[in-house]
């Protein structure tokens, strides 16, 4: 019954989005690998790729299309027991073009057992050869809750819900995007997590025609642990 209601709700939601504005959907796998390089310092490397499956603005709405790949590298400095300042660089390969992005980030985690709240402020600047520079600022609130017990232990499932607000300036114009991020996560070990879920983006909210993007997402987070030499 729950499956039926979810399917019906999804169908109505997609139908609404399809009829009201542009709608696209596809796959968005992400990998983040972190490596501790000092007492309070770590390097976080990431790769993500977008593949489009549905786009109602194309002649053939249902068709596979490779969109882009991002490679990123961030240095993360631990400020306190639960806060970090991060800075780094992202390179994007899209439509035979290369984009460069510089990123500055502040994040912290609040503990309200059994829930963890993650806060993240980001500013970034994107540069490409054929486009004007793009400046963005964003805030994301994430909630994480174990599905059994009072804390998330290895081999246990958890729920992660995120909500992000993103402001964007380009060519003197401002726009707003809102993201909803529901995930079902599995803690393989303390250094290894995998999450399945959706990344729903409602973009161009300031413009008349909004854009709806629904990405089916798999996130893999892995932390490399190097044993100290004796």
């Amino acid at each position: 019954m729950k499956l039926l209601i979810c399917t019906l709700f999804s169908f109505l939601f997609i139908s609404y989005s399809w009829s009201q504005s542009s709608f696209s959907s596809g796959l968005l796998p992400r990998i983040r690998v972190s490596t501790k390089i000092g007492d309070n310092l770590k390097l976080v490397n990431g790769i993500e790729s977008r593949q489009l499956l549905i786009d109602n603005t194309r002649e053939e709405s249902f068709d596979y299309e490779y969109v882009l790949t991002d490679l990123s590298s961030l240095l993360s400095y631990k400020l306190g027991s639960s806060s970090k300042i991060n800075a780094g660089y992202l390179i994007r390969f899209e439509d035979n073009e290369v984009f460069h992005r510089t990123i500055q980030q502040l994040s912290w985690v609040q503990y309200a057992d059994p829930i963890r709240f993650g806060h993240r402020f980001v500013t970034d600047q994107t540069f490409g050869n054929k486009q004007s520079p793009k400046f963005r600022t964003r805030y994301r609130l994430t909630l994480e809750k174990p599905l059994s017990g009072n804390k998330i232990d290895p081999t246990e499932w958890y729920l992660k819900l995120g909500n992000e607000y993103l402001g964007e300036w380009q060519n003197g114009e401002f726009n707003l995007e809102i993201r909803l991020l529901p995930f079902l996560g599995y803690e393989v070990s303390n250094t290894n997590k995998i999450e399945f879920g959706l990344d729903y983006r409602i973009g161009s909210l300031i413009d008349a025609a909004t854009e709806n993007d629904l990405w089916i997402t798999v996130n893999w987070y892995y932390s490399l642990q190097f044993k100290p030499k004796n």
């Binding site: 009072n150 998330i152 992660k160 997590k193 190097f226």
Partner: protein, 198 residues
Amino acid sequence: MSKYTFYRNNRIKLFVFCLIIYTSSYAQVKFEKEYRIKEDQVPSQAVTFIKKAFNEVKIKWYKEESHEGKTIEAKTVVDGIKHSIEFDTLGTPLDVERTVKLSSLSSTLQEDIKTTLEQQFVKYKIIKIQTQWKAADETLIQLLRKEKTTHPYAQNYEIVLKGMVERSYQRFEVLLNEKAELLKILTIQQRNTDNLDF
């Protein structure tokens, strides 16, 4: 699909494949787990203890496995106070913990706790305080029922805090006796927060 795109896609697949092979060789497993169990999976001695100690309260039962062994835990809220009663696997009570506010403790004890913590940490912030009772079964029942007891019992304080040691913040669990003297300090291994940060 252009030749350029095809080459680029396969290069990414190769990179991901290499990354998986490389990272899998470093996998580690942490052995600590807490999970809900039903009342019929709990030793009868523990269930009887709870029935004697409380009147009509909702109990959540947990089993905890760690490197120290297996225990059973009963969690409940009475008069707005969180209670946690720990048993061994046969159902013998080990201790009772109740969450309290620092301000509810006597001012002398607050000062003594502050002095002890300042000796251990450059800076600290208290997150949670629990009083911990260790005693014989009947004494623990009397304490939980707020009855006067003439039997001996130990009252310790278990404090979870964020503390700075050697210019680095970590979470610690500190156990103090009733005079706020240090009994034990444990470093709490925090769960990785990459999935909330990035």
